[in-house]
């Protein structure tokens, strides 16, 4: 526990009244029962600690059912549970819940019964937020489902849940009763007032409008950020368009939190410094590495013969952490061969594209940032100076992106814009002049563009930080760079395309198209959800082909 909490706790301690009884729930927390009722508070160092069982039996078991339910819920929601969470405290709270709670009849899933309830999964997004899926059946669809955490916290999930048709449930009940088109299925993201640490012991209750009340035991809570993320994305994909009501009401909250957790769970493990990087570099070149390490050598050769790199700090971040040893061996060889100094940031766990960049940027010092993919190979030396020169020559540039080429000299990047098919709601990222020849005249004009790719992007560190940098909430890439550019645009900067600097971008598809479908659709939806209005404004002023109507 942090020291600050320990120092504060004595001040909050209230004097013990004589008629009060207490029992220790964990080293930090005790249950006190007195005239004012039951409460959790910081543990006192006293000898008055009685047994919890006796306390519950003597003081609380006699209350009426409704009051006992309230007491359990109030205790579980106590602020001190959030301040001193522990498995021991959770275990004690579970014990309290089991002694005091009013048991409802167990729900039998039977087509002849008026009420049916099933919880198929509870996913732990973090200790306080969860994702639940299941179905419920009653006579009129007005029934209320409440989940009870092992610690006793109560959340009514039907209030906010996304409801959908379950053909299997409809079929099961259709023969006997009810309106067969009702939405039996429910899925919800919900949050608890205090952390829940136990995986077993969740209960769900159903109360129908005509007074039937039943309960079931829920399956054990599932945790593990990556697996949960896949499950939630799968559910989004199975319920109509990925960017629908479920995403807006539930998926977005869950996935945003999960993305944050994935980055939180990734820490810097070590920073290996090769040679002596410049002490006050003008620009930090930050290169996240994921899986493909074979490009590094080709890129590094170009850097080593480019005088610009004397004033540049070169920072690699390894996002595919399992390749740590392989990378270290490779980088030692490259350093021996070329003598160009650089740093390698090793992480404890993968952080994703935005997260890896964030670690790399935090480990770098220069006032300007050049974000670079490892599969971008300069066409000729001098590109860093040319980009920095242009950045300085123009007032108020946000992100600056150069011309990027495929191996056959066709354009990979000449600025990004946003495209929305007629009648479509969502904007997608599009590349100006993609596939046309590098000498195509209209692609050889420097101009402000709605966005540029982060495959190679120059931005002032201050401006980058002012807008919060690359966002973490996208799942496996796609829209981080355009959101960064939109944030910069919103802060009043202009993003520019610079064709006189040319690099090759050997863009490949590192994921199978099919596994990427749902994340891509989700990302596209989230991007439009957040930035739709801003994009509409930007696109009203932008023409892909200047001089024509589009």
């Amino acid at each position: 526990m942090p020291d600050t909490v320990k120092e504060k706790s004595p001040a909050r301690r209230r004097p013990r009244r004589s008629n009060e009884q207490a029992a220790r729930l964990s080293p930090d927390v005790e249950l006190a029962v007195g005239a004012a009722g039951a409460e959790l508070r910081a543990a006192t160092k006293g000898e008055f600690q009685g047994s919890l069982k006796a306390l519950l039996r003597d003081e609380l078991a006699g209350l009426d059912a409704e009051r006992r339910t309230e007491v359990v819920a109030e205790l579980a929601a106590s602020k001190i549970v959030a301040e001193h969470p522990s498995l021991e405290l959770s275990g004690s709270l579970y014990e309290i819940r089991e002694v005091l709670r009013e048991r409802l009849p167990a729900c039998a899933v039977d087509a002849r019964q008026p009420a049916g309830l099933a919880v198929e999964q509870i996913l732990s997004i973090d200790e306080r937020s969860f994702w639940i899926s299941g179905w419920m059946h009653d006579e009129d669809g007005e029934g209320v489902v409440t989940v009870v955490s092992p610690e006793g916290a109560r959340v009514e999930v039907t209030k906010t849940a996304y409801r959908f048709e379950r053909p299997d449930v409809v079929q099961f009940y259709a023969a006997l009763r009810g309106n067969p088109t009702r939405n039996h299925g429910f899925t919800a993201f919900f949050e608890l007032p205090a952390p829940s640490l136990l995986t077993d012991g969740w209960i769900a209750e159903l109360r129908t409008s005509d007074g039937v009340a039943v309960e079931i035991r829920c399956p054990a809570v599932v945790s593990g950020s990556l697996a949960i993320r896949a499950t939630i994305l799968g559910e989004l994909g199975n319920r109509g368009p990925v960017g629908g009501e479920l995403a807006a009401g539930h998926g977005r909250h869950a996935l945003t939190r999960l993305q944050e957790r994935i980055v939180e769970d990734s820490e810097v493990d070590s920073i290996d410094v090769y040679g002596e990087p410049p002490s006050s570099p003008e620009v930090s070149v930050v290169i996240p590495l994921y899986k493909r390490l074979d490009f590094i050598e080709h890129q590094f050769l170009q850097f080593s013969t480019d005088p610009d790199f004397a004033a540049a700090e070169l920072v690699y971040v390894l996002d595919s952490v399992e390749q740590k040893d392989e990378l270290a061996m490779k980088m030692r060889e490259l350093f021996t061969l070329y003598g160009l100094p650089f740093k390698v940031v090793n992480l404890t766990a993968g952080a994703g594209f935005a997260g890896a960049n964030r670690h790399g940027i935090n480990a770098s010092v220069a006032p300007q940032l050049l974000l670079l993919n490892s599969d971008v190979i300069p066409d000729r030396p001098g590109w860093l100076t040319a980009m920095r020169g242009f950045y300085a020559s123009q007032e108020g540039i946000g992100a600056l992106g150069p011309k990027l080429l495929y191996e056959d000299d066709s354009l990979q990047h000449a600025g990004l814009y946003f495209h929305r098919a007629p009648g479509a709601e969502l904007w997608e990222n599009a590349h100006c002049f993609k596939g046309l020849h590098r000498d195509f005249p209209a692609a050889n004009v420097a101009r402000p563009v709605p966005a540029v790719t982060a495959a190679c992007m120059l931005v002032d560190r201050d401006r980058y930080e002012e807008v919060g940098g690359l966002p973490l909430h996208y799942v496996q890439g796609d829209y981080e760079d355009s959101e960064l550019c939109l944030r910069l645009a919103e802060a009043g900067y202009e993003n520019w395309y610079l064709p006189l600097v040319e690099l090759y971008h050997l863009e490949g598809q590192s994921y199978g198209a099919d596994t990427r479908r749902i994340p891509s659709e989700y990302n596209m939806w989230l991007h439009s959800e957040i930035w739709g209005a801003r994009i509409e404004e930007l696109m009203a002023d932008f023409s892909v082909n200047p001089g024509t109507e589009r």
């Binding site: 066709s410 990979q412 596939g435 209209a442 024509t548």
Partner: protein, 430 residues
């Protein structure tokens, strides 16, 4: 005045497939490029059936061909092409990618050499995106009319067909309803309505499109123009016995492969005649055809030599030893490029007496006709030709130079100009 921007769309590129039509497309593009005031762009289709490449770059079907900034490939999935309706199932190809390309390139004229594997929908999309652009379409075979590989040959007994209709087409394809043929025709014609000018390299081909319903005001005959080869093949070493006959092109049923093999088997054993096969794509033919061809070839070891595929640039050398070129096709053909190539090198032609062959080769003047599809007639013609050096000389002297590229280019530029003017009229009156 800014340059005239002409976009050429072709279904293939000579770097992928060394065919005559492909060579012509590139030659035309290059000839236009050397014209002052003209900026041509060539867009050639690429796909898994012509190149080993299976994917395009992510996010775009376009890629460059070489250092020339005005030559492009457009990648389309072979599987996405609907051969019956002549459209791509990937509508995004038109609504998104080709639209972006047209808007970026802003051509004044789009001259289509073909829409195969791209789809006729492109025609409507050009009109929507570029209302003022002139659309010119060169017809190469009868694909828009005929579902039988665009050959206008009935599926039974190789009978030549001169008229398509839902009823007759259903006779050829009993498993496809007349209603489907009706819709096919309406669909293709619906997109063809956007074409300002059709070009037919032969009169017989134009006639069939006139019969099909293309208005005479929208179509004209314009032969393929060709560049003169860098080297003209000399006369064969000996002409006393003009025995060497050359076949050039695909060895397929419609090209008359069996007819010529059967004919060679019937040629009088005392006559010195030898057939040299310069061709490719035997492996693409049906198993049945390949077996039949092998069987025919087996009995003709001393008479027929298979020389395999060739590059277009090898033609002068391949022509060198030959006296005759043979075109035994059993379909109408359009204007076979082999005719022009043989005439460049002063080789008289023995050909079927039908369609584009009968039109372009004058019987008894610069070649000899035989009854199309009839091996006996071909055998007798070969006997007559190979034993008659005087006839050979007189036919050779009757050969005229083929239609030169210069004249072709100048006619096309006039036509582009006229069509652009016409469109302005349309735009004003609309």
């Amino acid at each position: 005045m800014s340059d005239l921007r002409v976009l050429y769309v072709a279904h293939n590129h000579p770097t992928l497939h060394p065919g005559g039509a492909e060579a012509y497309s590139l030659e035309l593009y290059e000839a236009m490029r050397s014209q002052p005031g003209v900026e041509p762009v060539l867009l050639a289709r690429i796909g898994s059936n012509v190149a080993r490449r299976r994917v395009a770059h992510p996010g775009t079907p376009f890629s460059t061909v070489n250092d020339d900034p005005n030559q492009y490939f457009v990648f389309t999935e072979t599987d996405h092409f609907d051969f019956f309706t002549l459209t791509s199932r990937d509508k995004n190809l038109y609504s998104r990618h080709l639209t972006d390309f047209l808007l970026a390139q802003q051509p004044d004229v789009v001259h289509l050499q073909h829409t195969h594997f791209i789809g006729v929908d492109l025609l409507s999309q050009i009109r929507r995106v570029l209302p003022d652009a002139a659309i010119v379409y060169t017809l190469h075979e009868f694909l828009p009319i005929c579902n039988h590989h665009g050959q206008m040959v009935r599926t039974f007994a190789d009978e030549l067909c001169s008229e398509a209709s839902p009823r007759r087409c259903n006779e050829c394809f009993p498993e496809i309803s007349p209603q489907s043929f009706f819709l096919r025709e309406r669909f293709v014609k619906g997109h063809f309505a956007n074409v300002d000018r059709f070009l037919a390299p032969s009169a017989q081909l134009m006639d069939k499109y006139l019969d099909w319903g293309i208005g005479s005001e929208r179509i004209e005959v314009e032969e393929y123009g060709r560049l003169s080869p860098t080297r003209r093949a000399g006369d064969p070493a000996q002409v006393k016995s003009p025995a060497n006959i050359g076949f050039f092109g695909q060895l397929s049923h419609f090209k008359g492969a069996e007819v010529m093999m059967e004919a060679m088997a019937m040629v009088d054993p005392d006559v010195d005649a030898h057939l040299w096969l310069n061709g490719a794509n035997l492996e693409l033919q049906t198993q049945e055809f390949q077996e039949e061809f092998a069987r025919l070839q087996e009995g003709l070891r001393g008479r027929v030599t298979f020389r395999g595929p060739y590059e277009h640039s090898e033609l002068p050398k391949l022509m060198e030893d030959l006296h005759w070129a043979l075109i035994p096709s059993i379909w109408w053909e359009n204007s076979p490029l082999v005719i022009q190539e043989a005439f460049f090198h002063r080789r008289p032609i023995i050909c079927s007496d039908i369609g584009g062959m009968a039109e372009k080769v004058r019987d008894g003047v610069d070649g000899l006709h035989f009854r199309g599809g009839d091996p006996v007639s071909l055998a007798r013609t070969i006997e007559r030709a190979t034993t008659n050096p005087r006839l050979w000389r007189s036919l050779r002297d009757g050969i005229r130079d083929p239609y030169p590229m210069d004249a072709h280019v100048s006619r096309l530029l006039d036509l582009y100009g006229e069509t652009i003017e016409q469109r302005k009229g349309v735009a004003v009156s609309a």
